[in-house]
């Protein structure tokens, strides 16, 4: 920071420094004074002195002397007390005599007292004069007398030091200020010099001649260049202005008005004069530009008239020739059809030629107009009006303008104008001028528009068509495409003309289609290849989407059959392909559904007749057997017929399972419970290498139907699954309730929105091949070895699911397994127990039941009933044969059902025998006449249950279940 010095500041700083110095000095001085005073006072026993003085006045010298003697005795040795008479003779005190060196005037003094027998001591004493010439001298020995003196001198030295340092500070500050001032002066002088030099250079460079006329002295100074410009020799000096005027080379015509102007100026009208005048130099007219300024004194009187002039001859000539050329151009413009305009941006003046005015429907005239005014007047088309100003503004930045716009000179008539302009910039880059031409291009524009419209129509048509167009030059490998091709390929838009190899570089085909595509193109482009081609292929879009494309093209060939060009179309046919595939799938499904339905109908129709036939065979056979001697050959043959008839009956029964009977009563079925039961039975029969995983989450949800149906569906699917896993694996069964929101079509049936049981049976088996998939629901279609299955399992599943209004979905992977998903419509919840409803009879689970009755039909009836209940019955018509069989393998049977009245061994006896062999075997006794006695006897023999004939299937089922689970 530099401090700028002004006189006021200077004075102020001096005053401030003085005040500070005084303050600094005052502190040690005041301190020293106080300290010395205090010190002196403390050395004099003032109070004692006052007491003695008072005593003297009151009691006289003797009393004082007495008192002082007393007092002196109490004094410590360093204190001094002495009372003397006017002759300085001692009267009292601890000093032997008046010490030498004590001044006669009263006051306080420091002095050295020499006492006998001791060192001289420094004391401070008060010399107090009492009336009558008596004197009292009292004080104390001082040990700090020297330091007091030293302190005084120290104070003096400190003050001197402070004063010295302040003086040095002042000196330094003054030097600094002085230096600044000197620097300032030096800089200003240098600047002035520089400025003068610059000025001189500028004057020199400007090539201007200077004059300076001192009005009062009438001195006329002229620069050498001035003289040169006026055609005077360089040494010429003018005595005054009149002298100069006399020989001035100014053109007489100009001189007249110039002098008048100068006179006017001197008279007080303005201070400056600027003019272009002609001079005659060497008989030739030249142009000079004058700039003059007059300086006035306080009264306004002109004291100086100064100025310069420059040679502007060349410029003037150029201007004249320009004017000439402009005139010529204007005339040319009039002749041409183009309009012309010139806009001075700085002044916003716009010259507009006649023709341009005509085109823009501006009023005729030659006066320049303002641009804003023109914009206001031009009847531009409404759509172009706003745009026009913008375009011009843009041109100001870019320096050229070419723009077409419409005007409506008269209502209903639209003219197209093309404006072409150029912008001129000054050295700084600011636009200063814009000139342009205006042509009426209406006719041309209309023709172009028609062409463009046609092109546009074609392009639109191409875009509108789903097909992409391409044109490949086989020789140069350049591909021209329509935008649609990029779209189809999933490429970014904009690639329209590109090397084909470049274009196909990032191209990805689906599967082996790339090889196929390249082979096709090679074939097509080969010598003598086809004239037209057409094929389908699949691509992978960059998004990973697979698209089906179809392409068809014509190949242009030269005379030798070389391919020159391929021109054609490519279309995305994915949707059509998908639709086609879907249609095929639907057709397949429909065919299957129809086939299955037809078979169901057929089976139903056959069943009716077939069962009648079987009924007759079995009925009459039964009667014939009754009449035949038991064990005879005839009887055995008849038995075989009956056996065959039974098999036929079982078969027809299964066929009926998939033909919709439509008479089954539907009751709420607790699906999860049924599935659980079925799984329990299944797990007992499961091969060792297969594990069962069940996830049942349907709760109490119920379905309208028949529990047996659910049982059959699960059993059939599970059986198939187990068969498919010959090498072992896991069988997964899951059941849940799911809400379907959208209608969809699984493999079989249709799912409408609603709640469904979803029963899934999944295996890790061999999977199902496509041809099997199509036929697997057909009756009697089986992949199993002959004798293993009936080929009706899935038909039954299909029949049941369809009847229940459900659907089936099959998902399979060859070698990985299959999943069957069964959808069954849910209908509320199952009631836990319904007291009104008879529970369905308990079912067996493959237990072997020995059945003995001497009557063949009864054995048949019982075995059939037991079969239906899920047991494996083994029937005997002879109790002895039955006993023999039981004895041969007692563990073969799980229960015994026997008639009471039989020839040979009676029921009761039979029971006893059986019990004898195996005590725990459950036994049910049947009897036509169940009296109390019989019942008791039977129970005694070991029968747990006694049933009355004719046998009710329900009773048999209940009893058997009871004994088996007892």
């Amino acid at each position: 920071m530099t401090l700028r010095l002004t006189p006021a500041r200077f004075a102020l700083s001096y005053i401030a420094l003085g005040v500070i110095a005084l303050a600094l000095l005052a502190v040690p001085l005041w301190y020293g004074f106080q300290a010395n005073l205090g010190t002196f006072r403390s050395y004099v026993p003032t109070a004692e002195i006052q007491k003695l003085v008072d005593k003297f006045h009151r009691d006289g010298p003797k009393a004082v002397a007495a008192a002082l003697d007393v007092y002196a005795k109490t004094l410590p040795p360093d204190q001094v007390a002495l009372f003397v008479d006017p002759h300085k003779q001692r009267l009292a005190g601890n000093l032997p005599h008046w010490p030498a060196g004590v001044p006669d005037e009263p006051g306080t003094y420091g002095l050295v007292i020499e006492r006998s027998g001791s060192e001289p001591t420094r004391v401070i004493v008060s010399h107090v004069a009492l009336p009558g010439g008596y004197v009292l001298l009292m004080g104390r020995e001082s040990v700090i007398f020297d330091s007091l003196v030293a302190r005084f001198w120290f104070g003096v030295a400190g003050a001197i030091a402070i004063l010295l340092s302040l003086g040095l500070l002042f000196g330094w500050l003054l030097r600094r200020e002085h230096g600044q001032l000197e620097g300032l002066v030096a800089r200003r002088t240098a600047a002035l010099q520089l400025s003068e030099e610059r000025y001189a250079q500028v004057v020199l460079a400007s090539n201007a001649g200077l004059w300076d006329y001192d009005v009062a002295k009438d001195e006329y100074y002229t620069s050498p260049r001035f003289l040169e410009l006026c055609g005077f020799p360089p040494e010429r000096v003018f005595s005054g202005r009149e002298d100069f005027k006399r020989c001035s080379p100014m053109h007489p015509d100009d001189a007249v008005w110039y002098e008048a102007a100068v006179k006017d100026l001197f008279a007080g009208n303005g201070t400056r004069l600027s003019a272009d005048v002609r001079v005659i130099i060497g008989g030739e007219i030249q142009w000079r530009h004058l700039e003059g300024i007059c300086l006035r004194d306080a009264e306004g009187k002109v004291v100086r008239w100064t100025g310069f002039h420059t040679d502007i001859t060349a410029r003037k000539c150029a201007e004249e020739s320009l004017q000439l050329s402009e005139e010529r151009y204007a005339r040319a413009m009039e002749g041409s059809d183009a309009g012309h305009w010139d806009w001075n941006i700085a002044s916003d003046e716009m010259f507009v030629s006649e023709r341009a005015r005509e085109m823009l429907a501006l009023p005729p005239g030659e006066l320049p107009m303002r641009r804003s005014e023109i914009l206001e007047l031009v009847p531009a088309h409404l759509d172009d009006r706003a745009n026009l100003a913008e375009v011009v503004n843009a041109a100001l930045l870019s320096s050229t303008l070419e723009h077409d716009y419409r005007v409506i000179p008269t209502p209903g008539q639209v003219r197209w104008l093309r404006v072409r302009a150029k912008v001129y910039h000054d050295a700084r880059g600011a636009a200063v001028r814009m000139t342009g031409s205006l042509t009426d291009i209406t006719e041309r524009k209309l023709a172009t528009d028609a062409l463009r419209a046609s092109e546009e129509r074609y392009s639109l048509a191409m875009d509108a068509s789903e097909e992409a167009h391409f044109d490949v030059n086989v020789g140069t490998d350049v591909l021209f495409t329509s935008e649609r091709l990029n779209e189809i390929y999933g490429f970014p838009p904009g690639m329209r003309s590109i090397k084909r190899s470049e274009y196909l570089k990032d191209f990805r085909f689906c599967g082996d289609d790339g090889e196929f595509y390249r082979a096709k193109i090679r074939e097509v482009e080969a010598l003598g290849g086809p004239e037209r081609y057409e094929f389908e292929f699949r691509i992978l879009r960059p998004s990973g989407e697979v698209r089906w494309l179809w392409t068809r093209a014509k190949v242009t060939r030269d005379a030798e059959g070389r391919a020159l060009r391929r021109t054609g179309i490519t279309a995305d046919i994915t949707e059509a392909k998908l639709a086609e595939e879907e249609l095929k799938a639907m057709e397949r499904k429909l065919r299957q559904a129809q086939r299955l339905e037809a078979m169901g109908t057929l089976a139903g129709g056959i069943a009716h007749d077939f069962n009648n036939i079987l009924g007759a065979i079995l009925g009459f056979g039964e009667m014939a057997m009754r009449d035949a001697a038991k064990g005879s050959r005839l009887w055995r043959d008849l038995d075989s017929i009956m056996e065959a008839g039974e098999r036929g009956r079982a078969l027809v029964d299964r066929v009926l399972a998939f033909s919709r009977s439509g008479v089954g009563e539907r009751v709420p079925v607790h699906v999860e419970k049924v599935v659980r039961e079925a799984l329990d039975q299944l797990s007992a029969k499961l091969p060792a290498d297969i594990t069962l995983h069940a996830k049942l989450h349907a709760g109490r949800a119920a379905m309208q139907g028949d529990a047996t149906q659910v049982h059959q569906v699960l059993t059939n699917l599970a059986t198939n699954a187990i068969h498919s896993m010959a090498g072992g694996g896991t069988l997964r069964v899951s059941l849940r309730v799911e809400r379907i929101e959208q209608t969809r079509a699984p493999t079989i049936g249709t799912l409408m929105p609603g709640e469904y049981f979803v029963l899934q049976v999944a295996d890790a088996g061999t999977g199902i091949s496509a041809d099997v998939l199509e036929h697997m629901f057909d009756p009697f279609f089986t992949t199993k070895e002959v004798g293993t299955g009936t080929g009706l399992g899935l038909s039954i599943v299909h029949g049941i699911v369809t009847e229940l209004g459900g659907a089936i979905d099959v998902a399979t992977t060859l070698g990985a397994g299959s999943t069957f998903t069964i959808y069954l419509p849910r209908a509320g919840d199952a009631v836990e127990t319904d007291p009104d409803e008879k529970p369905s009879p308990p079912r067996g689970d493959g237990q072997r039941v020995l059945v003995v009755d001497d009557e063949e039909p009864l054995v048949r009836l019982a075995t059939r009933t037991l079969e239906e209940l899920g047991y494996v019955p083994v029937g005997f018509t002879s109790s002895s044969a039955a006993l023999a069989a039981f004895r041969a393998d007692p563990q073969r049977f799980d229960a015994v059902v026997t008639d009471e009245r039989m020839p040979g061994i009676s029921g009761t006896a039979f029971i006893r025998e059986v019990r004898g062999i195996r005590d725990s075997i459950p036994v049910v006794l049947m009897s036509g006449y169940v009296g109390d006695a019989v019942a008791r006897e039977a129970r005694d023999a070991g029968a747990e249950e006694v049933l009355r004939k004719p046998l009710s299937a329900r009773d048999l089922a209940t009893s058997l279940a009871r004994v088996l689970h007892a």
Partner: protein, 115 residues
């Protein structure tokens, strides 16, 4: 001969009808009506489930007696039969083919229930 009463039989298949007549006759029922006798039971064959309701309606219009329906179209199995019977509104349904024992048991059951 007329110990157990008259059973009306409606069966189109001659062989089955003969079988029915013989078995029922042997069991003591009369299968040919004497004048003015109304049947204790009607045994009717239903060729197809679809035709069943109308056929049964027709029977009901003529007879007041319980009806035992025979059909080769019913699935075997207790539950199925019971449900089918309930649905058709008849006492009992007997799937074909049936044995003598099954027939008599069914007839017995129906008659016992209506007694």
């Amino acid at each position: 001969m007329d110990r157990k009463g008259f059973i009306a039989i409606h069966e189109d298949d001659d062989l089955i009808r003969e079988l029915l007549e013989r078995w029922l006759g042997e069991a003591g029922y009369s299968v040919h009506p004497t004048a003015g006798e109304s049947p204790r039971l009607v045994i009717a064959d239903v060729p197809s489930p679809r035709a069943a309701p109308s056929r049964i309606e027709a029977m009901r219009a003529v007879y007041a007696a319980p009806i035992l329906v025979l059909s080769g179209r019913f699935r075997r199995g207790l539950a199925a039969s019971a449900e089918a019977a309930r649905r058709l509104g008849v006492k009992r349904v007997l799937p074909k083919p049936f044995s003598r024992e099954e027939l008599l048991s069914a007839v017995d059951e129906v008659l016992k229930a209506t007694r």
